[in-house]
């Protein structure tokens, strides 16, 4: 508790936020998980860069990287990271219309259309990547 002046000659009570404020409410917890997902996004970026780097360094280095990537701990980490990445993607897509109100011929495009367009892009790019890997 901290007493502060209010200009009225009396002390005001200034409540402090608990360190666990984010556990108080579901929406706060989801927000913190969304923020945390950035760490896993960063991990995937690093992982991808490591892949490219090891490929560039020749077959032996690439084999070493594959050994590292198939380590159960790394696999578990990547599964967790994938879950967070999907969560990141879903929340990102859902929040986009808030930041970018799209107008076509002076009319505001409904949020659902903006979100749907992003999912369409996601599916097209994913299909291309799958085609690239499989063929």
């Amino acid at each position: 508790m901290t007493g502060t002046g209010t200009g009225t000659g009396q002390r005001a009570y200034r409540p402090r936020m608990s360190l666990w404020w984010w556990a108080r409410k579901r929406s706060y917890t989801l927000f913190i998980l969304r923020e945390l997902s950035s760490v896993f996004v960063a991990w995937f970026v690093l992982f991808t860069l490591l892949t490219v780097w090891s490929v560039a360094r020749g077959e032996e280095r690439y084999e070493q990287f594959l050994d590292f990537a198939s380590n159960p701990l790394v696999v578990a980490l990547n599964v967790l990271a994938l879950a967070f990445l999907l969560f990141h993607t879903v929340t990102w897509f859902n929040l986009t219309p808030k930041a970018m109100p799209v107008k076509v011929r002076g009319r505001r495009v409904p949020s659902t259309v903006v979100i749907a367009a992003q999912w369409l892009g996601f599916v097209v790019v994913s299909a291309f990547v799958v085609w690239l890997v499989v063929s």
Binding site: T6, Y13, L95, P101
Partner: protein, 247 residues
Amino acid sequence: MADSITLRVTRYQPEVDDEPRAQDFDVPLRENWVVLDGLNYIKDRLDGTLSYRWSCRMGICGSCGMMVDGEPALTCATFLVDHAPGPIRVEPLANFPVVRDLVVDIGDFLEKLPRVSPWIVRDDDIPVDEGESLQTPEELADYKQYSMCINCMLCYSACPVYGLDPDFIGPAAIALAQRYNLDSRDDGAAKRLDVLIHPDGVWGCTFVGECTTACPKDVDPAGAIQRYKLTAAMETIKSYVSPGGGP
């Protein structure tokens, strides 16, 4: 339906209390009674020393915002029956210093509001005898949503960023800045830019989104802030491309 419901009201009397405490009051549970009616009943019949703010009791003045069962709400628009069987916790707005009982110190908010120049700023003054500054319905629609703010501060109460860092200028101030930035009659965007791109401005926001959830007027301050982040980023890029050109 029960005849009465308990309001668990936060009391804080600085001359005797070191910290807030809860006091229970039984008030009639009527279908058309809101939490504010319950508080007025307490004030009139049970304990005249209870302090709280209210004025219009119809969701316009923005005075009666409090925490009801832990959520920021206008007590004039929160029905007792929706929180039955109770007890209903009625606490002062979170994230603000408590002056007495349910009354919070709003000085910080009132100091922040004028920083964003929430009025029409013109490069040239249009004489009154030239008539109205006309707007099309589309131009009105660009900012109308943001003009519905009643300064009730529920958004500040819902915002953990403001709770953790009281220097953050906050959702309502930024939404109001956008209300004028998007007004076709206004030339003040450049003036507001410095305040809004300050570290305590839009970039303080981490998009929790609770301000929008709490807003009783559907202003969507979270949307306003994210839109402005995009504008601010574009202005910054422009200033690199054409230094001195300014926004």
